[in-house]
């Protein structure tokens, strides 16, 4: 009973985050409409195409929107975990590619294994590869004090170009014509979650992981340490006697592993092969997904689907209303800007309220 009250106070925070997000999206759509008008397009038709492309019917929603949301939810969880601990991991993109490379390699080589063994092996190798990709920035941060923002961004380039090298070189498909790998074994593929749709088990993986992270953050000692270090490393160390380096290490590598898993899930569940442009920048969009969710794992599922819908709708808009693809990027950038601005405003309001309650002193 006692706990219920504490929980309800916290979930008000989550509700507030979601409301903030809704306002951000509304403002963004409004701005987008104005931009469309300026470009000589009909915003109503565009909007119709967008909504139709994202939510037009059950199958559209499940097979397009939800499928697109899977890598966004997973990378969003990766970013939320790191940011919660105060680690600015901007490297989900590179970690995702590292995971995808490992997944393809295991998925092709492990063809002799049965599916119940091979699928977990593929996903685990992707997670390990993502964690290893995060290890370099982690060690540079912990041992040398090099800011992780820069190192994770730089590691993104390495990951993206390594994938490009793989699909042109060592892992290129047998005929050596297309810049892609050969297909992974049947036994390496995630089964479908809903028969008759394209929604694969990656969505289930994402939901389970979100639930697990939500529980870890709220209920476990490590989750508490993570939030303490993220909120104030100094107080965590001095008052909590928390080993902040250990918390940073675990959350950074965990974040990398989840981002790597996103790559593995994409390979195993959807594409079944590695392409040069596997990700349209999920690792970056993930930052908006996580921030919009207030770094709440459960919220990430909502915002991940929202961004999945945005991408699905943008595709339809391009196809059905003839709006250039570049507009998608503009809308996404606008959402990120709106989120950051509104997040800031909300925090300032929160700080004012705190100062007010504090009164004198």
């Amino acid at each position: 009973m006692a706990d219920v009250q504490a929980q309800s106070v916290r979930s008000v925070g989550a509700l507030e985050s979601i409301l903030t997000g809704a306002v951000a999206v509304a403002l963004t759509l409004l701005t987008g409409a104005v931009l469309l008008l300026l470009g000589g397009f009909d915003p109503i038709a565009a909007g119709g195409a967008m909504i139709g492309g994202a939510f037009g019917g059950w199958n559209t929603f499940v097979s397009i929107t939800l499928v697109r949301s899977i890598p966004l939810i997973l990378t969003g969880l990766a970013v939320a975990l790191a940011f919660r601990a105060g680690v600015w991991n901007i490297g989900a993109e590179g970690q995702l590619y590292a995971g995808a490379i490992a997944a393809v390699w295991v998925g092709i080589r492990g063809g002799a294994l049965p599916a119940p063994l091979l699928v977990p092996a593929v996903l685990m190798s992707a997670g390990v590869a993502g964690a290893l990709w995060a290890l370099v920035p982690t060690l540079m941060h912990l041992r040398l004090g090099v800011g992780e923002v820069i190192t994770t961004i730089l590691m993104n380039f390495v990951g993206i170009y390594l994938a490009a090298y793989m699909v042109h070189g060592p892992l290129q498909e047998a005929r050596g014509v297309f810049p892609q790998t050969g297909p992974i074994a049947e036994a390496a593929r995630l089964p479908m979650l809903l028969p008759g749709s394209r929604l694969h088990w990656g969505f289930g993986v994402a939901l389970l992981l979100a639930a697990a992270l939500a529980v870890v953050v709220r209920r476990t000692r490590f989750g508490f340490e993570l939030r303490a270090v993220g909120a104030s490393p100094e107080a965590a160390a001095v008052s909590g006697r928390i080993d902040t380096s250990r918390v940073l290490l675990v959350s950074f590598l965990g974040s990398g592993a989840i981002a790597g898993l996103a790559g593995g899930v994409e390979i195993s569940g959807l594409t079944h092969a590695l392409y040069e442009d596997l990700s349209p920048g999920w690792g970056y969009t993930a930052i908006a997904v996580a921030l919009l969710a207030g770094l709440n794992p459960a919220g990430v599922v909502v915002t991940g689907v929202l961004f999945g819908a945005l991408q699905a709708g943008a595709g339809a808009m391009q196809r059905d209303a003839g709006i250039p693809a570049a507009w998608v990027g503009v809308v996404e950038a606008l959402v990120i800007l709106a989120v950051l601005a509104i997040d800031r405003i909300r925090r300032r309001a929160g700080a004012l309220r705190a100062a007010g309650a504090r009164g004198d002193e």
Partner: protein, 510 residues
């Protein structure tokens, strides 16, 4: 009578539902040092911020030179000649002292006068000696306080307001500061000192104003009001803590008894702490027994921070042997940055110290219900002014934050409690509370180490006393057991840290 420079009438200020000022009055006259006294939450800082243009009042008027003014920013306040010296430092740590002093000075100096020359002249005139080349982050709190004062004086304010300026200065430095304040008042300025220590204020102020609960309850020439009258005005019917008010040890407050040699709780032998900037602690030997309060006095930046952390098990010694008990309570100096997490509620802040105890988790799972009960208990037993345990740590006043921290650390049922400046910035009743708890704990057999820059506090509470200077711990003999004696030990080598860092920087200084 001297002309009135500033008059505040009926000033009101609310923060949400909290009323910080409810009709405060203040009159500052040229040529006077004016003391503003008040307990925590009385509205001193709010009034100070209103005067400095940092907060706009909800009601009331501000007059400067008899004309009503509206102060919407610090710039406005400066334009009227009001200069503030903040309690919380406003210096940029990574800039040098000169650069800090030059910040924001554009147009404020007489034409043709370079910042360097202005600073040198000011230092010469005021005797506020600070090194100009080092970066501020390399300097101790005493130097920083002097820099804050210099910064305000550089603009030649007619009205100078200082918020708790004595907290980090040695007795000798306080006296020099007071001489300076009198001199500045003698030049026709209005000097205002916001403080909670009575004898500080009475030593220098010509008149005093006492605030309580946002109202001005007394204004008198300092000769007219006697101490007990002022104390009553400050605390109303509240607790009176003679130590916090600077009235010396309580009449019956004989220092706790000699240590029980059979129960040594702490043993430090030849402890060194060294970091990239050099020695922080050097060859420290210290034994502390259960039931005694060991006081460590020192000017900030002389190693007491490191000593506190070594004793609290938060910092590893570079060399030497350290024997500590299992359970250690620690009251760190910076409540809001080290003691609490502002965005955590009270339950989580209590959990910060307790979550590792076996009764509050099973395996990896935390038992929030248990920790919530403890937080509820702390809130009621230590009279934390918070609507519920879901209140965020950052929403509490300093005194209430300290109540939470003290309550939490006592809840640790530790064998050793390390308290680092536990009453800094606290009002009378909050300080009394902390002192009472420390005494109570010692009487229950807990070993207590009190590290403080407040000599009165150390003298009143401690059995054995040590002075720390330049990382070296020296016992204070019973003969030297007074302000002057300890002050002399504290000062020995005080400058050494500054000189050392200057030497280490070497060529930069050339």
């Amino acid at each position: 009578m001297n002309p009135t420079l500033v008059r505040l009438r009926g000033v009101e200020r609310r923060f949400g539902s909290v009323v910080a000022l409810a009709g405060a009055e203040l009159e500052l006259r040229a040529g006077e040092v004016h003391g503003v006294l008040g307990a925590n939450g009385a509205g001193k800082s709010t009034l100070f911020n209103v005067l400095g243009g940092l907060l706009r009042p909800d009601g009331g008027t501000i007059e400067v030179d008899g004309r009503p003014v509206v102060l919407t920013s610090p710039r406005d306040a400066w334009a009227h000649g009001i200069g503030l010296v903040h309690q919380h430092f406003t210096l940029v740590p990574t800039l040098t002292v000169s650069e800090n002093l030059a910040l924001g000075l554009r147009g404020a100096l007489e034409p043709g006068l370079s910042v360097q020359r202005a600073v040198r002249e000011l230092i010469e005139r005021t005797g506020l000696d600070v090194p100009l080349q080092p970066r501020v982050e390399e300097l101790g709190v005493g130097d920083r306080q002097r820099i804050e004062i210099l910064k305000a004086l550089l603009r030649d304010p007619r009205i100078l307001v200082l918020d708790e300026p004595t907290a980090v200065l040695t007795p000798d430095e306080i006296e020099r500061l007071f001489d300076l304040l009198r001199e500045l008042a003698g030049e026709g300025r209005a000097v205002t000192l916001v403080a909670h220590k009575l004898d500080d204020v009475l030593a220098v102020a010509d008149r005093v104003t006492v605030l309580r609960a946002g109202r001005t309850v007394l204004t008198a020439a300092s000769g007219e009001a006697d101490q007990s009258e002022l104390v009553r005005a400050m605390v109303g019917d509240g607790v009176v803590d003679t130590i916090a008010l600077g009235l010396g040890p309580p009449p019956s407050g004989a220092p706790p008894s000699a240590p029980h040699a059979e129960r040594w709780v702490v043993r430090l032998r030849g402890v060194d702490v060294e970091d990239e900037r050099g020695w922080r602690l050097h060859k420290v030997d210290l034994d502390v027994a259960g039931g005694e309060v060991v006081g460590v006095a020192g000017v900030e930046g002389n190693g007491q921070r490191e000593l506190a952390r070594v004793l609290a098990g938060r910092l590893e010694a570079t060399r030497g042997t350290v024997e500590l008990p299992e359970q250690i309570g620690f009251i760190p100096q910076n409540r809001s940055t080290e003691g609490l997490i502002g965005e955590f509620d009270l339950v989580e802040n209590v959990a910060l110290a307790l979550y590792r105890k076996p009764e509050f988790h099973s395996g990896p799972w935390l038992r929030w219900d248990g920790m919530k009960r403890v937080a509820e208990e702390i809130r009621s037993r230590y009279e934390v002014a918070a609507p519920s345990v879901a209140t965020l740590g950052g929403a509490l006043s300093g005194g209430n934050q300290q109540r939470v921290i003290v309550g939490r650390e006592l809840e640790m049922s530790a064998d050793l409690l390390v308290a680092e400046n536990p009453t800094r910035g606290l009002d009378v009743s909050a300080a009394a509370f902390v002192h009472d708890e420390l005494r109570r704990l010692a009487s229950e057999g807990v070993a207590i180490v009190l590290l403080s820059t407040d000599l009165d506090e150390v003298l009143a509470l401690s059995g054995r006393i040590f002075a720390i200077a330049a990382g070296t711990l020296r016992p204070v003999s019973s003969r030297a057991r007074d302000r002057a004696g300890i002050g002399a030990l504290m000062l020995r080598g005080e400058r050494r840290t500054a000189v050392d860092s200057a030497l280490e920087r070497g060529v930069d200084d050339g």
